[in-house]
Symmetry: C2
Subunit: 427 residues, 2 copies
């Protein structure tokens, strides 16, 4: 199936990727955008700031993919070696690009208000055999190289971009994707994803095995477990959009029916976004009172644009004092039941709803580790309360992982509890 | 330099990595651990759930690296194809591994309390020519294959692990690294990293150019810009630990001296951790009042273990009501000056310090976008106040990026402001 499609490779360059100092968010974002445009990413490769490694990766990828996208190594410092390498690889000569030079000068003189250094001027030099892609967000331009055809590829391109995420994103959206779409008649790649909770990956697989085995060969089903939830994704590829869409919709409806008792949402979006939409529909608001999750739930909710329409705020009360002063938890509850208890999260939720006037609330208290556990409250113990002024639900969880994952699991489960509470709530 | 070292390739498997649905955190973590053990990661490759792509990647990497680590594709569902592929690649035969079988049965009978399915039993089958690495955190075992030597590699290994992060981490720490260290006499790879603020990458490069050019060839300097801050990292590789350490310490001291006016910390740790250590040293506490950063600062602070010793809590006040009720901001300030104003962040900070009793505080209010901007307060406008009961500092920022990056930049800058405030504070 995939050989018929337009394929791309992504090469990210930088030692920081190979020693684990930087998380490679660039290629995930590029992969998403290419995929939406109907271009299948067949490989992602990360290499260091080492000439022969970059050269070899380029050599290998251009033999097998139609499109090779590179990021990184275009900065003004000595460890940035991509540009001269590309110039040599494609047999070009370095030359000053007038428009980029004017842009670099403008950035330094008018925006940064700093003297322009020789090394910054060199940012305006490019190989004379590339098409320059103007980078309005930074000094290093993108470079587009047309590569000679082979027996298996009628045309090929290599595009180099800076590794700074917002500069790369600007170039992809404004220049690279429009040009790629103009060069190739790409097939359509369509996905439909749903989110389930409460059943493991094997049980889902078992339940839908017959249905899965009967899927036509151009349809793929993927299982994506995360934070105790499982996403199921259907993917189809082909050239006739209405037919593809129709078939995918039909199969996706079948899939939803098969898993309806564990289905949370039938869209590929984070739970915090689904919760936000539900609240908007109902014209309701939410607030959070977080102890052990330390603001992570608030962060998830507020990372969604427009969340100020339904999010009141949060009290993050790490200390006893903060729990008492900010949320009116009784000192006696804290001293007799402990901060990590059903009673405390209930009082936190009550105090929160009163204080913020929100319609719904979430309260969390737990021990995330690595220290702080006791025999009857081991590390990973988390109490969650969700509810409104009429009704509260509390749940006790025991997570067994490291601090960060325990925080993420507690947040995901708390959001899920509130989502279901709001869904069922008739008020 | 690198050819003399023990080198590794990391291959991550899964379509979700190629459509950008999942961020590849596994290989960043593995790279860190390998690096600490003196093993240089020369390439990271991500491929889809496609047999020929996995095969080819394995083929290419094993020709050039001593060690190839694979994650993913070991689950119980139809899109998991790594295990049969490895069995074929190394010419083995599938066989049941008794210890793993007992473990799988135990997990289902005693932990999950679910019936065991045929597909789960298959998790206990392994190629008969591998060494099984026991996975106490899950059902899919790790598999260690010894590979025949070549003229350039006296020994080689391929290790396959599940893609579930905490299972992979358990296997790496408990089995893979100890075995790798026993097989190879690895060289030492040492890093020293410092964090600067207030100078761009080019200016730093210009200032230390002469010093950088005089560095011995086995020492590398990298510039790592992020969130308006720049990290500088010195790396050395070699076999004699005391000499390497001594030389690196000496050069790192020189580097600190060169950048002392913009130096923030001389360690490779997040600002929130450095702030925590500073507060612990001084025996002081901190609280946060976040509007536009929506809990992200609280999340950063509380993601550090032990933060409950110095973190009181946070009021995240998204609405006017929440700002008034939770932080005693005057309604008149909000209506005359606006929520995004110097006066409002000052009152937020004052209310926060009074309410939580914390020694220091951070308050933020801004417009993160994409909506909500006005001509005099465009999207990206952020007011930050830091201080204590004696003194407050306020700063206005204008960030120009997307919502998430604006939040991250505001949080990083607010933490930096408070870090410097606490450093200078004599109280």
């Amino acid at each position: 199936m995939k050989q018929e499609n337009v394929t791309a490779s992504i090469i990210t360059i930088g030692d920081e990727l190979l020693i684990g100092q930087t998380l490679d968010t660039n290629s995930a974002w590029m992969a998403q955008e290419l995929n939406k445009a109907g271009i299948w990413v067949r490989r992602r490769v990360a290499v260091g700031d080492v000439r022969q490694e970059i050269w070899q990766a380029l050599d290998e990828e251009i033999q097998q993919s139609d499109i090779v996208l590179l990021t990184g190594g275009l900065g003004p410092t000595a460890d940035d070696i991509t540009k001269p390498l590309l110039c040599d690889y494609f047999g070009g000569k370095m030359t000053v690009h007038a428009e980029t030079l004017a842009h670099v000068k403008d950035i330094f003189e008018n925006k940064l208000k700093r003297p322009l250094l020789e090394r910054n001027l060199r940012q305006a030099e490019v190989p004379d055999n590339c098409t320059v892609l103007f980078n309005k967000r930074g000094t290093a331009p993108g470079m587009w190289f047309d590569v000679a055809a082979t027996s298996s590829h009628s045309k090929r391109v290599v595009v180099s971009m800076p590794g700074v995420p917002h500069e790369m994103k600007g170039l992809i959206s404004a220049s690279v994707l429009p040009r790629l779409k103009a060069e190739w008649q790409v097939p359509h790649i369509l996905h439909r994803t749903l989110l389930t909770a409460g059943a493991g990956e094997s049980f889902l697989a078992e339940r839908i095995q017959q249905w899965e085995e009967a899927l036509p060969p151009h349809i793929k089903l993927a299982y994506l477990p995360n934070y105790g939830l499982v996403r199921l994704r259907l993917t189809t590829t082909g050239s006739k959009l209405p037919e593809l869409q129709h078939e995918l919709d039909y199969l996706f409806a079948e899939l939803q029916e098969q898993v309806k008792d564990v289905l949370v949402i039938n869209e590929d979006k984070p739970l915090e976004e689904a919760l936000g939409q539900l609240l908007l529909q109902k014209g309701k608001t939410v607030a959070t009172a977080e102890s052990c999750t330390g603001g992570y739930i608030a962060h998830l909710i507020t990372s969604i644009q427009g969340s100020s329409a339904y999010y009141e705020g949060s009290s993050i009360s790490y200390s006893y004092t903060a729990k008492e002063r900010m949320l009116q938890v009784h000192n006696s509850t804290l001293t007799t039941k402990g901060a990590v208890s059903q009673e405390t999260v209930q009082e936190m939720l009550g105090g929160l709803l009163k204080q913020t006037g929100a319609d719904y609330g979430i309260a969390t208290s737990g021990i995330m580790g690595p220290g702080g556990g006791t025999p009857d409250k081991p590390v990973g113990t988390v109490w969650v309360a969700v509810g409104n002024n009429e009704r509260m639900e509390t749940h006790r969880f025991l997570f067994r992982f490291d601090r960060m994952r325990n925080i993420q699991l507690a947040a995901a489960n708390a959001l899920l509890l509130l989502f279901r509470f709001v869904q069922k709530d008739a008020s």
